[in-house]
């Protein structure tokens, strides 16, 4: 008896503090959030549960549906953009561009800036004035003779959200580059040599040898960027402010509901957001878990 406690006691004690903290502050609070979303909580006052009424209200609310559409577009653009630029830069550096260290730092550096700080600058860059009074990017486009490219940026009702993806891509591409670069470095030189000896063209080498080796890296990048993107809030608050319609996403909607005292609906938005992120993360966790079991 005593020896058994001796064998599993210390490990349990060691993980107990984190388990308790996570249990209370993550899972406990998720539970509290879901529970709140089922009540009619207004500014802390509640008369009891109302079932799924808050969720019904949300999905009947045009603005919320619009915000879901926005976040889907934003995520698509953000993930595609960072993967494209990240891979491109990693590929260029991997091919032995001179001054690699400098370029690596240059591309990675935007990540060190907070979304709020860069958002303030991008707010100015993405000024929606055109023609004579243009400033920011529109002015720049005008000066280099590309005036026809001037746009309303994030104030456009249909595509506005994609303008917010620009700063996000600018900031996170370097990070994806670092991921890919590590991926490239992890591929043994012998594999390439073997492929070349077998007469593979450069394209075949990438297609059949390097890409398969890089796919786990790409998957990680999609998961990391994707879940960041679904939770976007700070960047939009800094660029467009909380009530701006064209850039509404679930994050800002949740804040607005909370500010106007609709705590239950805010909790419901939080729950929807959690579920959406879970749809992305859980399959990934399961697949890595299985992969580790196989090993």
């Amino acid at each position: 008896m005593f020896t058994r406690i001796r064998s599993w006691g210390p490990p349990v004690l060691l993980i107990a503090p984190t388990l308790i903290l996570l249990g209370i502050f993550v899972y406990g609070l998720i539970g509290a959030g879901v529970w709140t979303s089922l009540t009619d909580n207004v500014r802390g006052q509640t008369t009891g549960t109302v079932g799924l009424e808050n969720y019904e209200n949300l999905f009947n609310d045009d603005t919320f549906v619009y915000s879901l559409r926005n976040v889907a577009m934003y995520t698509g653009a953000f993930v595609a953009g960072t993967l494209f630029f990240g891979f491109l830069w990693a590929w260029l550096l991997e091919r032995g561009a001179r001054g690699e260290g400098i370029f690596r730092a240059v591309y990675l550096f935007p990540m060190a800036v907070s979304f709020v700080a860069s958002g303030v600058v991008w707010r100015w860059l993405l000024n929606s004035n055109t023609g004579e009074q243009a400033s920011g990017l529109n002015r720049l486009l005008d000066m280099v003779g590309l005036g026809f490219l001037q746009g309303q940026w994030w104030t456009h009702e249909g595509w506005g959200i994609l303008a917010i993806a620009m700063p996000a891509i600018w900031q996170l591409s370097g990070y994806v580059m670092a991921l890919f670069l590590a991926g490239f470095r992890g591929i043994p030189e012998e594999l390439r040599e073997a492929a070349r000896v077998d007469g593979a063209t450069e394209w075949q080498l990438y297609r059949h040898v390097l890409f398969p080796q890089l796919s786990p890296v790409a998957l990680s990048a999609v998961i990391i960027i994707g879940h960041m993107s679904l939770k976007v809030f700070d960047l939009i608050m800094a660029v467009a402010g909380q009530t701006n319609y064209t850039t509404q996403v679930p994050g800002t909607q949740m804040w607005l509901k909370y500010t106007s005292g609709e705590w239950a609906e805010a909790a419901a938005i939080g729950t929807v957001l959690l579920l959406v992120v879970a749809v992305l993360i859980v399959p990934y966790l399961i697949s890595t878990y299985r992969a580790e079991r196989r090993r």
């Binding site: 500014r43 707010r123 100015w124 104030t155 402010g241 701006n244 319609y245 064209t246 607005l256 106007s260």
Partner: protein
């Protein structure tokens, strides 16, 4: 051995936590914690002056500054909401006078202070219209510290000259729109400057007052005026036309940017509350020469008011201290000290205009004589929830210019509000 040390350590930490929570709950405290969002600029200067007056009137009490900065008060309101929820209210907190207080009243978080109004004779020194707007079911819950006027046009006479427009105000919105058209033809790119969502709500509210008149405008908030009636439709038409003469980068700007366009001569008009006065003063502009002001065309004789006020929360520690603070806020000396610094006007009508600046004198005069109506954009007319819904609708209109959709959203916002009550 190590385990025992760990447990001892953990329990020490736990003890420290409980000790921390149990501290300073004494009832005989001399502290008065005043919760505001006045953290810098003229607002901070005003608060400091008010505190100096408070210390003079109540030397035995100790002022504790509970200001929370940022987000034009929205940060502070969220902090406050959670403190009230946890039954840990400050001694008193700042809130916009009027409908914004309803949320707190319904949640039973603030107390009726009509007795203080009796005791200090405030019923006679605050204007009747204002008292009526502050009264909910026969009770009054806050003391206004200062008053701002929202329906003010700020104009640059130099720019007006370009289109041969004199300094006399247009008599109604149609004439105002003619002036804007003339300015546009005379090559002024931005006849009317405007900024982000809430300033658009601000413009909309003044247009509503102009087209509905004060009575029907007040009716919008108690349900007696319909949001899809002909007057509101006319106002929306006017609003849409006015918006077409504004700067296209409105969503990118905040109010100081829009006001600065008038100061710099890039725009002819700006419709903004009279806190804009501070911006003109900072730029060393002279009232009546470098800039002129008048009520928004069609709202002459109406004072679109907003006010900050202080409350007595339920369960406040040191209730006597809170009452002392409220007494200072409502006193003639307190209002004078605060408002001269903040650039607003006192809520009391017995102020001496000579103590104030040129623009403020005109505001004090109108405040005394005009019909007072509550401002929407600044929390006097509608609850936070209602005004947020309207702000979202107006922001959406700025992007899609769909009048029918705007009216639908306004009607729905009013219905949602009815449902709650």
């Amino acid at each position: 051995m190590k385990l025992r040390a760990l447990i001892a350590g953990l329990s020490a930490v736990a003890l420290a936590f409980t000790a921390g929570c149990g501290g300073d709950d004494g009832d005989d405290t001399k502290d008065v914690e005043v919760f505001t969002w006045w953290a810098d600029g003229s607002e901070k200067a005003g608060l400091d002056a008010l505190v100096a007056e408070f210390n003079k009137q109540h030397p035995d009490l100790n002022f504790v500054n509970g200001a929370v900065a940022g987000g034009a008060g929205s940060n502070a309101k969220n902090v406050l909401a959670s403190r009230l929820q946890q039954q840990d209210p400050p001694s008193t907190f700042q809130a916009h006078a009027g409908a914004e207080l309803l949320d707190y009243i319904e949640a039973n978080q603030i107390q009726d202070i009509s007795a203080l109004y009796e005791e200090y004779g405030w019923n006679d020194v605050f204007p009747k219209d204002l008292i009526e707007l502050l009264t909910v079911d026969g009770k009054i819950y806050s003391v206004p510290s200062n008053v701002h006027r929202a329906n003010v046009v700020w104009a640059n006479p130099e720019v007006l000259k370009k289109a041969n427009i004199g300094e006399e105000p247009a008599k109604d919105l149609d004439e105002f729109i003619d002036q804007l058209e003339k300015l546009k033809k005379a090559g002024v790119d931005t006849p009317l400057s405007i900024a982000t969502d809430w300033t658009q709500v601000h413009l909309l509210e003044t247009v509503l007052i102009a087209d509905l008149g004060p009575e029907k405008y007040i009716g919008l908030w108690d349900g007696s005026t319909k949001w899809d009636g002909p007057e509101v439709r006319k106002a929306i038409d006017h609003y849409a036309t006015l918006l077409s003469y504004t700067n296209t980068d409105r969503q990118n700007l905040d109010w100081p940017d829009a006001t600065k366009m008038v100061i710099d001569g890039k725009a002819a008009f700006n419709i903004m509350g009279d806190w804009a006065e501070a911006a003109f003063q900072e730029a060393d502009k002279e009232w009546g020469k470098d800039y002129i002001t008048y009520p928004v065309p069609g709202t002459d004789g109406v004072f679109d008011f907003l006010a900050d006020s202080f409350t007595l929360p339920v369960g406040a520690k040191n209730e006597e201290g809170t009452k002392a603070w409220l007494q200072t806020v409502g006193s003639a000396e307190g209002q004078k000290a605060f408002n001269i610094k903040k650039g607003s006007i006192p809520a009391r009508t017995d102020a001496n205009p000579d103590d104030y600046g040129e623009y403020q004198k005109t505001a004090i005069e109108s405040y005394k004589n005009d019909t007072i109506v509550p401002s929407l954009a600044h929390g006097a007319a509608a609850s936070v929830k209602w005004s947020t819904a309207i702000t979202e609708a107006v922001s959406s209109f700025s992007a899609n210019k769909d009048k029918a959709k705007l009216i639908d959203a306004l009607v729905k916002a009013a219905e949602d509000n009815q449902k709650k009550q």
